[in-house]
Amino acid sequence: MAKARVKVPKSVKAGEVFLVKTLISHKMETGQRKDKKTGKKIPRKIINKFSCSYGGKEVFGSDIHPAVAANPYIAFHVKASESGPMSFKWTEDGGKVTEKTVTIKVS
């Protein structure tokens, strides 16, 4: 399954707004392409949902549609509140989920 990379600052100050960068390997098959040999449509398989939770609630989420390139890169800002885990969830067509968790240190 897909591999993910996440980058957050090593430590942040309370109340600071910091950048979270995520990258996941995924083909993002649009469902529009045809198999060159058989002529049949290749079924759609994309990541259709992304969500990030921190401090017990979802702080960033997004529905993703076709026409997003392979290996989607999503970056966003989050306001630091407390130390703790930040977890990421990518949901693929068919329901497969890739998860990753990092720890946020608030000083």
């Binding site: 990379r5 996440v6 980058k7 960068k21 390997s25 993002m28 392979a70 290996n71 890169y73």
Partner: protein, 272 residues
């Protein structure tokens, strides 16, 4: 060639900042390209759009880094009957593979011809690790390993050897580069020397430098070997491409690497 010669004269006559002027459409910018330029040679980075450059420069957003991770994992993964991994012999890649990425392809005494880095890795796998070779240049494993190995030389200047036994192969590669081919009757030089910086339909032609390979191409949506790129180029002039890993492409890879001598290794670069 004429234009290139002119370019050299212009470049040497003007300040470095102006040398980008050398007969290119980018001339208007009159911009120094810093480490991405050596004498009159410019990395493909300088021909990429700002947005593409931003992807390459992003410490996380460069999607080829996913393959780099793969290569890093493979480096210490034991495989084959000998029970060895790359790390068993070579230790930490950061030390043993430093500057390796600048010097390939190399002459192989055993084969009596040029050998690409991919082929050397497979030789290591079959002979020393007693493992199965990676099937293709553009398999996930091979791309990962090559990207990981070449990335250890990131920033170091390209420096292939063209002395001694390599000379005839270098000449062959050079001949290939200037040889007209295909229905369009074009050589590599027609685009990448005479018209670097000009547009071919909607695309900006670069100098065809190889310092960023394996490159993540947005068109491919994944990284690819330089041989894959050669194939694409050959097809575009409607010539029958050679096989990935063929002697012709190894020789060409050598010549192209020499053309870009001094340019920093950018693996994994991002291009359109």
């Amino acid at each position: 060639m004429k234009k290139l010669n002119l370019g050299i004269i212009v470049a040497s006559a003007l300040a470095i900042g102006l040398s980008a002027f050398a007969g290119t459409a980018m001339a208007g910018k009159k911009k120094g390209w810093g480490k991405y330029q050596v004498e009159d040679r410019r990395s493909g980075y300088t021909y990429a759009t700002k947005e593409t450059q931003a992807i390459q420069d992003n410490d996380l957003g460069n999607p080829a880094l996913l393959w780099l991770d793969e290569g890093e994992a493979l480096w210490s993964k034991k495989d084959g009957k000998a029970g060895k991994s790359c790390a068993s012999c070579h230790g930490a890649a950061a030390d043993s593979m430093k500057s390796v990425g600048t010097s390939w392809p190399k002459y192989s005494k055993k084969l009596g011809k040029m050998q690409s880095l991919e082929q050397r890795i497979n030789q290591c796998r079959t002979e020393n690790m007693k493992a199965k070779p990676f099937k293709k240049f553009d398999s996930k494993e091979m791309l990962g390993t090559v990207i990981y190995v070449r990335n250890q030389s990131a920033g170091l200047p390209m420096n292939v050897s063209i002395d001694g036994p390599v000379i005839p192969f270098f000449e062959k590669g050079k001949k290939f580069f200037y040889q007209r081919r295909g229905q369009l009757d074009m050589s590599c030089a027609h685009c990448h020397e005479d018209n670097a910086g000009n547009k071919i339909r909607a695309n900006l032609l670069s100098e065809g430098q190889s310092n960023g390979f394996p490159t993540y191409r947005l068109k491919w949506q994944k990284p690819g070997s330089i041989h894959r790129r050669f194939k694409g180029c050959n097809k575009q002039v409607r010539a029958k491409p050679f096989k990935v890993g063929s002697d012709e492409y190894n020789n060409l890879e050598l010549f192209v690497a020499w053309r870009g001598r001094g340019l920093p290794v950018e693996t994994p670069a991002v291009r359109n």
